[in-house]
Amino acid sequence: MALLEVDDLSVTFARRGQRTVHAVDGVSFSVDAGEVVGLVGESGCGKSVTSLAIMGLLPRQPGLRVGGRAVFDGTDLLQLDDRSRRDIRGRDVAMIFQDPLSSLNPVIPIGLQVTEVLTRHRGMKGEAAQKEAADLLDRVGIPDPRRRLKEYPHQLSGGMRQRALIAMAVACQPRLLIADEPTTALDVTIQAQILELLKELVRDSGTALVMITHDLGVVAGMCDTINVLYAGRVVETARRRPLFREPRHPYTVGLLGSVPRLDAGRGERLNPIPGSVRDVLAWPDGCAFAPRCTRRIDECVGAPPELTLTYDGRSYRCVNPPPVPGTPPPAATDAGAPEPATGGPVPAPREEEKP
């Protein structure tokens, strides 16, 4: 039984006079105790909305609809009332955000913000709480922690603030930590420090981690299982090595071909994905990636591609996946493999506006 089981989660934002936004469209994934699970995808694919929905932190706006389930240790987080949700949040499940300044209170000293968490969830008070807070700051690598406790968030650098936030998040030894692009705003040497810190925390405390990022390098280095999102859907799930070695979804293949690698030589052109995420089908059914996909066939646009399960927990949503390197393609896909992007019901991939 997984620690967190997200099942068919969907989030829609409706606004009068505007098209309804399906920010998250039937997302399912699971996180085992102590596991590091990645959610990767480009801007707007629904990573943050997914995590906010699980945490119950979506802005209460009219037109917001959340469906599906997010079962954490037997309780559906989506069904909780505010009170019990607050209890779970911080104690069992904690979250860190890209911008630590927006989640630290600017007018309260760091120390008070950490001890408050300790008091609320662990009942610690006074000198004991102070000591524990200083220990926590020390543990996340903040120098001279006793002094830092009295300081305000704006007196710390971005990297130190992110550490302070991590200290607060792990203060109660949560069983699940959700990190939404925790290093995107930081320089690469500071990113390395923070990622190392997160890895260490996970290793030492057995906390499960959901790592949200757009950086394939980050997931390659730390995730056990990776979910690739496109346009609000999980299009591929795989363990770390299989995903990078033999990606099965054309979008994953495309992403991997798009990123320049530090360890590759100068010269070769990259293989970008044509078009942009703003290219959408005129109708909601069918594969959302179809307007940009070079392997598209007629079946792709009729109905949403079914999830194909293979061995070892792998799954992908594609009716015409690229063959696994080294194996002959099965006869069915062989026959169906078309010339990419000719005629058909969908316009050719192009980077064009569809306002």
Partner: protein, 367 residues
Amino acid sequence: MTESDILVEVRDLKVHFPIKRGLILDRVVGHVKAVDGVDLSIPRGKTYGLVGESGCGKSTLGRALLQLTPPTGGEVRFDGVELTTLAAGKLRTMRRRMQMIFQDPMSSLDPRQNVESILTEGLQTHGIGTDRDDRRRIIGETLDAVGLPRWALSRYPHEFSGGQRQRIGIARALVLGPELIVADEPVSALDVSIQAQVVNLLDELQDNLGLTYLVIAHDLAVVKHISDVVGVMYLGALVEEAPSDRLYSEPLHPYTRALMSAVPVPDPDVEDRRERILLAGDLPSPANPPSGCRFHTRCPWAQPTRCADERPALREIGGSRVACHFAERIATGELRPHKVSAQIVRPEGEGEDPAVVSAPTEPGSYV
């Protein structure tokens, strides 16, 4: 390499910004040494990449090179012409030959101008094209070159996606027929899949038009991919300059080593095998840089002699240029890294009382 193969030559370039205090900001209390003595040259038709962490002075160097920010000292020679002492009129004619593209295409494009008028403006300013038809032809060719359709001409910037806007930004630079393009973070605002399109476009344009690039970015993988030579900056100065392949395979400066080891590679096998050199603490403030070698407060190889009080000059070592007193002995493994304890670095404006800020509205965001 002969003189004429070098398009841009920068000597001891300095840009110092005064730090002003007082009620009417009339007191200069110090200087931010954003660029503090940089030497570099860019061969014609090649790409020079500039990397380094936020605030190390990359953008300032790029702007000073184009004379968009007046340098405090030093020389910039473009195709043999010294720019820092050039009269304003002459500089303007030179400007046509050196163009800049920016990180955020949206903020650098006037939202009220359609694409045609954005592109025509530059042509008119520089008196390019004999008549309207001629300008139309030039613009048409430019659109083809950057892969934008003709119907784009009548549209406005907001009607385009991020990648297309960057193409417009590139077209605006390209339409003037420049020889040098300074690209400041040209892809960092773009999605991964779109980044690759723009990177390929820049590569193609260079092949077809023989352009010379100075590419500034904090993404090392991108810079390494498109550059022939890469310069690594730390606190206003170059610490290493090397052919881009060598930078990853044989980094010589301790900072370059740390930087290279910190960049995640999208390959689990590589990630698992790699040795990370984790730097302690934050980047020191350029207003108050450390003495001696500016990296000595974070350098795992720092030595008790020289490092803290003698600023290392860039020296040639086996085809690279390196600013480290001990580079050779670090390369042979004779000197071993040691643990460095983190030092606290204050963000700008430190010591002031917390301003009254409205608390964030996101419920429960205080974890």
